[in-house]
């Protein structure tokens, strides 16, 4: 019997091959995308699961009075907390301090370097491939590698006990290798060093005071700890010990599971978006199949009746139908898996890999995804197999045999709501895509307060092997560039727009009693000229008299306003409660967007630092005459080949660098574009199936109308009118939702486009034309049919 069902199913699918193909296509693409989206969500959720007892691990978040917050705290706080709070079982810092160059044999490499306390493994008992948690950080000169780094250096060998040379001087012993860490994990590690190593570093010692917040701390708390109480305790410690506790409104003890969302806020949006999108796509696919299957059922009423007369029962009918859908679903799962591995996963890694790391599929760890896909398939099959049949199997045989079904209003309302739902979703995605597009376009083209064109940016933070030699060669290069007629301006600086450090320093004005948090950078005297940032007041740096005892600074307009000043005459940049007289402020520059437009322009200070010091600058910026970019780039690159460095010199155009800030949002846009296309495609597939079915049902009516003199156009309108109305209703539902969602999203940008009516109109038009096209093909076909033929068949 089953064999018979199977044979029949294949025959049926083949008989309606156009429809089957459309179904297969929609299902494959739908399931493929759902698989991809769900896989990334799954990868995200399990990424931190290798941290044992994560629920007892917390970190501290500092909330400031101005509404900002950050996860870093001052260095001595951890010891203070540990010595006063018995509920803390273990605690560790985890921070970077420049990525160290490591040497193993003749290989030199640099990796993300994190420093942690010896207690690190008591807090995070990350599984070790080699080595022992208790001894890993016992010795000062030890290093723990991630699996990836270990493989790079030693292959499959166990490297524990071998030694590495760090920064040309230190000999470190490898004491452990971590198990592979998912790129979605909160740990972004290459190598892990004990921070006892840094205790000798004078620069580090200087920073570990009660005013400089640069390291997050992680605490493992006793499970019985009252978090609210502990929070108060920490708050008190902070108020008592911080150099300047007045700017801090409160401390928050955050569970470690929040840390990923905290560090990259878009992650939350992306993950939520992924879940919502996969849900919607799945819904679309389901609704689509339901619609098409209901239509098929109409055609099959007679068939079912005959089977019943011959002795069949309802179960048989349902089995047959489920089997047919099951075959479709099975094939589409196979196709979508191929899509997933061959196209969608690599594509997703392309889009998001740069920010989140590439994720790979491994059967050992990710089998739940496969099980999920199969469960999903079974569910889809059962729903679309059983639901549409229910109405038909209960139909009396004597009516079914005549091919008559009472076209009860109920089913039409249901199906119409399905269509409305489909198109609402599709139009919603189109709206999102359009608004996203215009926001990104706006951000890329916006006036940033500086001239981004014809500026070459070279990265000169290259780990020079011989700093003195490098500096003198660099000086020669600078002189050459300044002498070059195609070069208008040259500058070296610590930062360029799109890459300013997030180091905040609070300055104080005793007159206005204002605390202002600044971001800092160091530039030479050519920076403002190179980027053509105008001065509002005062003067630019000048190498001829700024190399004296005091380092002059230039602040931006926001900073001046934050202090409540109208002029900088005689002003100095001072710390609170400090004897330091402060840096003289010599100029005010116009607010320019040194970070992306998602963030407002914050107070900024540039310290003067002369241009020749390679060690203290990270960027070389050169403004050149239009069209000569390539020539100058070649000159600079050639000069750097003669300087001994560990990293390779790389350069780009400032414009590209600025646009590059939006890579992640660009990626989101690409995804949304694809999803929008997908949803409208799937909806149209369903529509196509429906109208061909409706045309068949109304074939007699069309025939009669034609005999009575209706033209082709009239009939096309007759057939499509209802659907166009449904699409219209869908649009009306989608617009406010899109408006609400996108206003919320745009609200997260400091600078954004405003939502215009034409964006919705455009989305509506796109949906309308695609629908009209789909409908048109089928409607015209039916309208052109010879009425004599259609009337006779009835």
């Amino acid at each position: 019997m089953l064999l018979n069902h199977l044979k029949l199913s294949f025959r049926n699918l083949w008989k309606n091959r156009t429809l089957s193909f459309l179904n297969l296509l929609g299902l494959s693409i739908g399931i493929g995308s759902v698989l991809t989206l769900m896989f990334s969500v799954y990868a995200y959720y399990v990424a931190d699961s290798m941290i044992p007892e994560q629920e007892h691990i917390y970190y501290l978040k500092t909330h400031l009075n101005d509404g900002n917050d950050y996860n870093e705290v001052v260095y001595p706080l951890l010891d203070k907390i540990k010595s006063t709070s018995p509920e803390v079982e273990a605690g560790t810092h985890l921070h970077g301090w420049g990525d160290v160059w490591l040497e193993a044999g003749n290989k030199e490499f640099q990796n993300t370097t994190a420093y942690a306390d010896p207690e690190f493994f008591k807090v995070f008992r990350l599984p070790l491939k080699y080595g022992d948690h208790n001894t890993a950080f016992k010795e000062k000169y030890s290093i723990v590698l991630t699996d990836k780094v270990s493989k790079q250096l030693f292959g499959e060998e166990n490297p524990v006990g071998k030694s590495l040379k760090a920064a040309d001087t230190l000999n470190l012993t490898i004491t452990g290798v971590l198990e592979p860490i998912s790129p979605y994990s909160s740990f972004r590690l290459g190598v892990l060093l004990p921070n006892t190593l840094l205790k000798d570093n004078s620069n580090f010692k200087q920073q570990t005071n009660w005013s400089n917040s640069f390291s997050p701390i992680f605490l493992k708390l006793n499970p019985e700890t009252d978090i609210a109480l502990f929070e108060k305790k920490v708050d008190k410690l902070v108020q008592e010990n911080y150099a300047d506790p007045t700017v801090i409104s409160r401390m928050e003890v955050m569970p470690h599971s929040e840390v990923r969302m905290d560090s990259i806020p878009v992650v939350e949006i992306i993950i939520a978006g992924n879940i919502a999108t996969s849900f919607f796509v799945l819904l679309l696919v389901l609704v689509n199949l339901l619609n098409l299957n209901t239509s098929t059922m109409f055609r099959r009423t007679k068939d079912i009746a005959v089977r019943k007369i011959l002795g069949g029962n309802n179960k048989g009918v349902i089995t047959q139908f489920c089997l047919e859908n099951g075959i479709l679903v099975l094939f589409s799962i196979i196709i979508s898996s191929a899509l997933f591995f061959g196209f969608l996963l690599p594509k997703m890694n392309d889009v998001f890999g740069a920010d989140f790391g590439e994720i790979n599929f491994s059967l050992k760890n990710d089998y739940p995804v496969i099980l999920g896909a199969i469960a999903l398939g079974v569910l889809v099959t059962l729903v679309v197999g059983i639901l549409p049949t229910l109405r038909f199997v209960s139909l009396p045989v004597s009516q079914g045999i005549k091919g008559k079904i009472d076209s009860a209003k109920g089913s039409f309302i249901l199906r119409n709501s399905f269509i409305i739902l489909q198109f609402s979703i599709a139009i919603l995605f189109i709206c999102i895509a359009i608004i996203l597009n215009s926001q990104i376009g706006f951000m890329k083209k916006a006036d940033l307060g500086f001239e981004r064109d014809h500026v070459i940016v070279g990265n000169i933070d290259l780990d020079y092997k011989n700093m003195d030699a490098a500096n003198s060669s660099f000086k020669v290069l600078l002189n050459d560039l300044e002498a070059n007629p195609y070069v208008t301006q040259v500058s070296t600086s610590q930062s360029v727009p799109s890459d300013y450090y997030f180091n905040y320093t609070t300055f104080y004005d005793p007159n206005t009693e204002a605390d202002v948090r600044f971001r800092r950078s160091y530039t030479d005297d050519g920076y403002l000229k190179t980027l053509q940032i105008p001065l509002v007041e005062g003067r630019d740096f000048d190498r001829d008299f700024d190399n004296g005892e005091e380092t002059p600074v230039i602040i931006n307009r926001s900073a001046m306003e934050a202090f409540g000043w109208t002029s900088i005459k005689g002003k100095r940049l001072k710390f609170k409660n400090s004897d330091f007289v402060g840096n003289p402020i010599v100029g005010v520059m116009k607010d320019f967007h040194y970070q992306d437009l998602q963030n407002a322009v914050e107070p900024l200070v540039h310290y003067y630092r002369d241009e020749e010091n390679l060690a203290k600058h990270r960027y070389l910026t050169v403004r050149v005459v239009d069209g000569k970019e390539k020539e100058i780039k070649n000159i600079i690159a050639a000069a750097f080949t003669k300087i001994a460095t560990r990293k390779n010199y790389a350069q780009s155009d400032l414009g590209d660098k600025v646009s590059g800030q939006y890579r992640l949002i660009d990626g989101m846009l690409k995804t949304v574009n694809v999803v929008a296309l997908l949803t409208i495609f799937i909806s149209c597939l369903g529509m196509f199936g429906l109208i061909s079915f409706m045309a068949k049902r109304r074939i007699k009516e069309i025939g009669i109308r034609k005999v009575l003199g209706a033209g082709i156009f009239k009939i096309v309108v007759l057939l499509s009118k209802d659907y166009i109305i449904l699409v219209g209703i869908g649009a009306l539902i989608a617009f406010p939702i899109a408006w609400y969602m996108m206003s919320a999203w745009l609200g997260s940008f400091a600078y954004s486009v405003s939502i215009q009516w034409w964006m919705f109109a455009l989305a509506g038009c796109i949906a309308f034309f695609i629908t009209a096209f789909t409908l048109g093909i089928q409607a015209i076909k039916s309208a052109m049919a010879n009425p004599v033929k259609s009337l006779r068949t009835e």
Partner: protein
């Protein structure tokens, strides 16, 4: 006695009024009879046939089939009853288009859960008897109307029913094809003793039967 209808009424509500489809029908059918039901369009011929075939219900009256009172039976038993004893032949054949001739014949046997070897034998036997062995792998749409109806009759017969109900079996056929089908019915009735009730418009076809029942507006005349 094969079946007996007593005071059968069937009606539908239309605009608050009862419209009678069948009105006080009394009918007794003995085994081996060949009955033709005649009457103009809308007189209730097909409805009567459906009631006899248990495909349709009635609103009043009693119906005994092989001394089982059908009107008191549950749907499930009723369908078991007609599956077992009744074969249907339709005006528009109602063959399953997705199945070959052979598979169409096999279908009722499948539902009766007859073993594969036995099924094959029965089907081969039927193909042979109706001279359609050569057509067994064709699909219904590849056959002429007469041939399709031949398959329809064969399918109705394969379950060895006591009663065959035929609703205008020759309605879609030309005169030569009709004669062949009617001759077949006659032969089945006479040689195999199968009871046949047919609905027909044609006086000529009605002649094949042993008894004629005339209906008008749902009433026997």
């Amino acid at each position: 006695m094969l079946l007996q209808l007593k005071n059968i009424f069937k009606w539908v509500q239309q605009g608050g009024q009862r419209v009678f489809l069948l009105k006080d029908i009394n009918l007794e059918v003995e085994e081996g009879e060949f009955i033709s039901i005649m009457g103009p369009s809308g007189s209730g011929k097909s409805t009567l046939l459906n009631v006899i075939g248990m495909l349709d219900t009635f609103d009043e009256g009693e119906y005994d089939f092989l001394s089982e009172s059908v009107h008191t039976l549950k749907e499930k038993y009723r369908s078991n009853l007609y599956k077992e004893y009744i074969g249907f032949v339709f005006q528009s054949y109602h063959l399953l288009d997705d199945l070959t001739v052979e598979e169409n014949l096999e279908m009722p046997l499948l539902y009766k859960k007859i073993k594969s070897s036995e099924r094959k034998a029965l089907v081969a036997d039927m193909l042979d008897r109706f001279n359609i062995v050569g057509k067994k792998d064709l699909f219904p749409t590849q056959l002429s109307g007469g041939q399709q109806q031949l398959v329809g009759v064969a399918r109705a017969l394969i379950g060895k029913p006591k009663l065959i109900l035929a609703d205008e079996p020759t309605g879609n056929l030309n005169s030569q094809q009709s004669e062949e089908i009617m001759a077949l019915f006659k032969k089945l009735n006479e040689e195999d003793g199968v009871t046949i009730i047919q609905v027909t418009h044609s006086e000529k076809n009605a002649e094949y039967g042993s008894r004629i029942i005339n209906l008008l507006d749902g009433r026997k005349i």
